[in-house]
Symmetry: C2
Amino acid sequence: MPVIDPRRFLADLEELSSIGRFKTGVSRPTFSAADQQARAWLANRLHAAGLRAVIDGIGNVIGCSPGAGPKLLLGSHIESQPEAGRLDGALGLLMGLEVARALRDDPDCAGLGVDVAAWADEEAYYGSFLGSRSFIGELTEAEMDSAVHRTDGTPLRTALREAGYSGPRATVEQGRHLGYLEAHVEQGDYLEQAGHRIGIVTGIVGSWQYRVIAYGQQNHAGTTRMAARKDAGLALAKLIVAIDQQFPKVAGARSVWTVGRVVLEPGAPSVIPGRAELSFQFRDADIAVLQRMGAAFDDLIAEANRGPCAIETIRLSQTRPALMAENLLANLEVAAELHAPARHTRMPSAAGHDAQILSRAMPAAMLFVPSIGGISHHWSEDTHCDDMVLGTQILADSVAAILRA
Amino acid sequence: MPVIDPRRFLADLEELSSIGRFKTGVSRPTFSAADQQARAWLANRLHAAGLRAVIDGIGNVIGCSPGAGPKLLLGSHIESQPEAGRLDGALGLLMGLEVARALRDDPDCAGLGVDVAAWADEEAYYGSFLGSRSFIGELTEAEMDSAVHRTDGTPLRTALREAGYSGPRATVEQGRHLGYLEAHVEQGDYLEQAGHRIGIVTGIVGSWQYRVIAYGQQNHAGTTRMAARKDAGLALAKLIVAIDQQFPKVAGARSVWTVGRVVLEPGAPSVIPGRAELSFQFRDADIAVLQRMGAAFDDLIAEANRGPCAIETIRLSQTRPALMAENLLANLEVAAELHAPARHTRMPSAAGHDAQILSRAMPAAMLFVPSIGGISHHWSEDTHCDDMVLGTQILADSVAAILRA
């Protein structure tokens, strides 16, 4: 099996982390100066690892193995959330880069090749999974024409032109890839809490999102008798508590559900809320569980409508769960058991990743390493070095095993 | 007993309603041009009714009976909320004005006198009950120096100077008044729902107000397991529902309690709220009931603190309930039973009124007439004409009976 070089891998991590550094993390928004510098750095590193590297017309950095025969595609993303961690995305790319070098350096691995890709804008500054969707052929020119930066409004076309990303967009080459593997930090604390060092991702959750509006009767908080009230805020509080009580009965072991936003109108201390609104979402990797939660939610809304307020529900989105490919998972599991016996587990990913997009075009799987304290999207995000090294070696073993199968 | 003149009374109402008219209501914010015009109009009407009328240094319009002997003080307020009803405040003044004329016109009532006062700024544009507090000696020069308009910031002193209200401030003349009577629209729907035409106000509620803050842990709504969450929004939703379940057990029959404001932070659909805040208040006319509700609330906060979030409570205010004087209530009740047999009831006032201030200086009582649909602080506020006329006659009867006692 190919043997990775931890010093080389960690030195790369230190170098990439210096680009756009913010405290102990980085700030590399998509197509910012720091992000462009990071893409150029990665292209150079891929080139130095023996891959033919390009930055394509959507900003994807893709390094292709020059050899013949089937390959595996390894990838993740290189931009970051503002003032966020240095590992989210970057770690998976550096692990892929190191695996490419380990294969190249091992005479026993001659003929085993990987391509390594940084998918542009996984962090959704300009849209939803633009880079990976472009690669599998799901990003239209029309969508690119209309895409703008989420806060400063810069058109995507302008940002690409100014960055010099003017070439054709790379696409799936039929028959080239046996599959896609993405390593990533967990961004939650499940592995850490369970004492595991490796997560083998069985699927990426689907997410159902709703907006709920309660229509009551705005009135004087002093003179309006309790029996005469139609308190829209109370109606939604009851719904939130009912969800908290009922969802555990229908949810899966790793389902999550969240009310992240509540607005009362007019929102004054002495006025009974006449209108209230909340945002609700739930996630699971199993479509049957999602459907069960959806039915339970519908029941709770029907129940809420028997109160004094009318309750309206707007379904915002229903993303499909993405299933990872069993043959890839099995290979990851063999390598994990070899290097971290009994300290790995199968688990769903509760966050979205490019792997959910790639899984529509080829077999895909993901490998998680633990996030210390479960922290992510914050500059204090971190993972123990030995876990990062362990994950890289397991990825290398798995790649070789899959390519030899 | 003095007999009121409904046509004269309703003609005055029509004339006063034309000052600052807005749709079927009025817009007469304190010391606005329309409000100044209304004060001048009222002073003239009081003068024409045989009273010595002045506008004092806080804008109170006070008409004093010139005769000797004890008097009753009748009053309410003349300014309105923006784009609000024509009756809130104004009705009580016009009823007082008509009672003064009815006494004057009835030879049997010779020597029975009333003073009529419009207390400035009951609607709290510049402060809290400025006019009536000034009259009972509770408004300091320092408070007047610092008072500014709640939205445009105009200093109270500037507004008074520009309106020409530069005289001394009127104060209680010891021994002059047997008591204070205020007639008002109910501003709720209790009388209407119960089929009553007159409410005899036993007390004005005290109000206890709180701000509650829940401190949780802001985190990713996808990757954070349910068991690991500290959801500040959920903590407050549970508190709201617990209040809804527990307060009926300790509240009085006419207690009210309200959560009018809820804010979640950061308030994004995919982020578990790390901090949440609400405004809570309850009101009752009985201090023992307020104390019971306060204790129940403290218990619920203690219970909430056993959850994953820390709950902080800030007590904003605790106003005292004001008890109305039994001898005045008994006289109102006799007159009500004569003119509206079995269609009157004793009740607390759930809204604040100048009577709660005057009750600190002399016996005080209030009379309510029904609000159609319970609507107030809106231009569509209304009361049936025959109820207004009925209330005026009952007030006249009561005044004569009290003055003769």
